[in-house]
């Protein structure tokens, strides 16, 4: 059964030729152009055709008035035609031998209005009659870097082990943008909107057997067939790590999902117990989902909850320690003999040498920092190390120093016995943002997990550790 469902959808991610139907010729900034720009910038290898009744030319490419004017066969259509023209396009596509169509337009059942509901029923019926599989409507479609398929030119060209199935196009883009910065890369991403034909269960079944995917992340507003979804997601969670962000968990949120993707959200307690039973990692915000992905991907299996905190700033050390402890992590005191060892070459004034270790006043000596990192890393009283940098507090002259610290941590991470995570506070002040970006890139290129706040780091680690404790052998098996 598994390989059947896998085979059934594999073609979606490997189109041979694509027609962009409904692309605007007049305005190069129009949103319909994004799809073309993305495919061109990703160097999609198959033939690309443009279709718009007005004809003409875009970027040296001929625009065909109708799909049937395209001189060769097409297996995949990206449609940006309005809702009312969509059912008709399915008929046209069938005559062209199209196998799948991504319908971008909104204005279907999610409007709650009679016309939209009727159009969605027509669309569904046309799909069933012609056998064309429909992604959407009301969505952004597929991002599959390996196939050079993307709906945003800014997404990474390189792939990775994370799949994302999302009912919201905006949340998909936002999640990829946030996650890519932190080193997360994707196998297959599907923004699928109203799920008129293909739905969450179809995609989950496919990804469960997809050898390129080891983590399946979900943004769901509702499910089409609760019974099937339960079965499918349980099997997925047996084989892979599954993470869920559920939109519409409150009454008002559920009202929003019905206007957004026409979804019936289901009760919070149902979702909660499903996640517990099936072994799904539950995130409650988009940021938490990204932080969980970063932790799963880049935090090598810590054996437990005991952290050493090595940072810069006494007050900051106090606050991060409180936050870690409040999130169920432990910051045990450094044994006296290790304190003495560090004290033998580290001045005490302005430093704290207890765990947290505040190395503020000795930060100029990267040798000493690395030496201390080595001592702490070998201590069997801890399971992992966390460090932090606050670029907004650094003087303009300290850019080199911050880079030195990160390089010291990376060296420690490569050499050390314990995983190291880094908290780098972001800044929107442009020259500080540049520094932060540089530091993040340094960490990420070396596979180090980066978080944007103490709370983010602590709660993500707590989430993953709690899950691992409740499901022994499942993660970090």
């Amino acid at each position: 059964m598994s390989s059947v469902s896998y085979e059934k959808l594999e073609f979606l991610f490997h189109p041979h030729s694509i027609a962009l139907v409904g692309i605007t010729t007049a305005n190069p900034d129009h949103w319909t152009r994004t799809f073309l720009d993305s495919l061109l910038e990703f160097n999609f290898e198959g033939p690309l055709y443009l279709v718009n009744p007005k004809g003409g030319e875009i970027a040296g490419m001929k625009v065909y008035p109708r799909l049937e004017d395209v001189p060769s066969s097409i297996d995949y259509v990206i449609s940006t035609v309005p809702a009312r023209a969509t059912p008709g396009l399915i008929e046209e596509s069938a005559r062209k031998g199209v196998k799948a169509i991504h319908c971008c337009a909104a204005g279907f059942g999610e409007t709650g209005e009679e016309e939209g509901i009727r159009l969605e029923a027509e669309l569904k019926e046309a799909g069933q009659r012609t056998g064309i599989r429909i992604i959407g409507p009301n969505c952004m479609g597929i991002y599959c870097p390996k196939s050079r398929l993307s709906f945003q030119s800014s997404f990474p060209r390189d792939g990775g082990p994370v799949a994302l199935i999302s009912q919201s196009g905006g949340n998909t883009t936002n999640l990829i943008n946030k996650a890519m910065l932190r080193g997360v890369r994707f196998s297959k991403v599907i923004s699928y909107g109203n799920a008129t034909d293909l739905n969450e269960s179809d995609y989950i079944e496919y990804l469960t057997d997809d050898p390129e995917t080891s983590i399946i992340s979900l943004y769901l507003e509702g499910v089409k067939d609760g019974e099937r979804f339960r079965r499918v997601v349980r099997r997925a969670a047996e084989k892979k790590a599954v993470l869920l962000l559920k939109g519409g968990v409150t009454e008002a949120g559920a009202r929003a999902t019905s206007g957004h993707t026409g979804s019936l959200a289901g009760s919070e307690s149902t979702w909660d117990s499903l996640c517990k039973q099936a072994g799904i990692i539950r995130a409650s915000t988009l940021e938490e989902l990204v932080n969980a992905l970063v932790t799963l991907l880049f935090m090598p299996a810590p054996r437990g909850r005991r952290a050493a905190i090595i940072g810069f700033g006494g007050g900051a050390s106090v606050l991060i320690t409180d936050i870690f402890e409040k999130n169920g992590l432990k910051v045990p005191a450094l044994p006296q003999e290790l304190r003495d060892e560090i004290r033998s070459y580290t001045p005490i004034a302005g430093n704290i040498l207890r765990n947290p270790i505040d190395y503020s006043q000795s930060v100029q000596s990267i040798q000493n920092l690395t030496r201390t990192l080595g001592i702490v890393s070998k201590w069997d009283g801890i399971d992992f190390i966390v460090s932090f940098i606050t670029p907004s507090q650094a003087s303009p002259g300290s850019r080199r120093l911050m880079i030195n610290i990160v390089e010291g941590m990376l060296e420690g991470s490569r050499a050390g016995a314990k995983p190291i995570a880094m908290v780098i506070e972001p800044s929107v002040i442009p020259h500080e943002a540049e520094d932060v970006m540089g530091l993040i890139q340094l960490c990420v290129s070396d596979g180090m997990p980066v978080y944007f706040s103490y709370s983010d780091a602590a709660s993500a680690m707590n989430l993953i550790l709690t899950f691992a404790e409740n499901h022994p052998g499942k993660l970090y098996g």
Copy 2:
């Protein structure tokens, strides 16, 4: 009694002449130079003198070998000499008629080592004997923009109603940096470290009667005299809004405070009940403290918890609604007649018109957005409006659009019957950071509250509203 304690410390914030003792002549990037740079850039109006045994010159200013070589009288010393030289400096200062000294150096009691403990006792004794008041040691001292006194040249030149008393220099800088971006301005800030002489209670007493301060924020790791502190802070909270971030609320955090400022942290339950009894707003992270300040300052008294959410992005609208409801706020459904009114000029495809209102597809028409804002603002089913922008999702061409949205919100805020808050997601991608900064500045210059995430906005509003409900008439009286 009140005016006595006020008069007693008023001189601290109005020094006539300052000597910087211990400033390094050799290295212009040395941290001791920061104090001079800040005073020069703030145009401190009184005479400034530099003292270092090596003599010489800095920036065209003579460096005197000893304090007694300075040709005129000095009432305020900023000392960056090491701990061991500090008690002697008090004696020298007494001979010069100095009234107050800010001791920057660490290496006193907080080290837990015999020498540091002895030096701190000597320092205290010298202060008592000479009558010189000591700020610190182990701290950054005073920032008082009205007196052109600062320890960072990047701090705002203009003042405001917020005072900050902080035991950590790093947290002080970090808090000011984060808060200034969001429009928070300060009357008096004191980073006071180990509190050997002047302590938290002295500063709180002073600020309680300070006409320039209406909000007192505290970062405390411990208190010197619990009995007095209770009395003093209770009186402060009767007269003004008092906010507290307590460092060292966990056992490991308390261990860190003892290494940081030599403080005994006290039990969490003691602090919790003190805050409840005295009417103090309690923040649990530095970010939460900043968000609470922004809410108090810029969110005009909402009458209740009912929000209208007007934003851009369906999935984002779902998530922000969930987050608001989970934080005890209400997002009530828009009545049918208002939906019909908005629907009469707003296409439904790609929009949600229910509350949340997702205006994604109509964002090009700022007239329509403003019109909708007007309709929603007059609806008596809500108490305030929240909007949001995610610049990382915007295309490079949409900068103008984002500015239009913010300008529409500002216009709505000025004209409207309801307060409006804005969530602007930050980005560390440099060109996006620039956009974000521009949008923040637009809002802040018009007195609009800005938050960096849905969760930040919701939890800050919940914090302040809960406090206001529990203490009727105290805020928004």
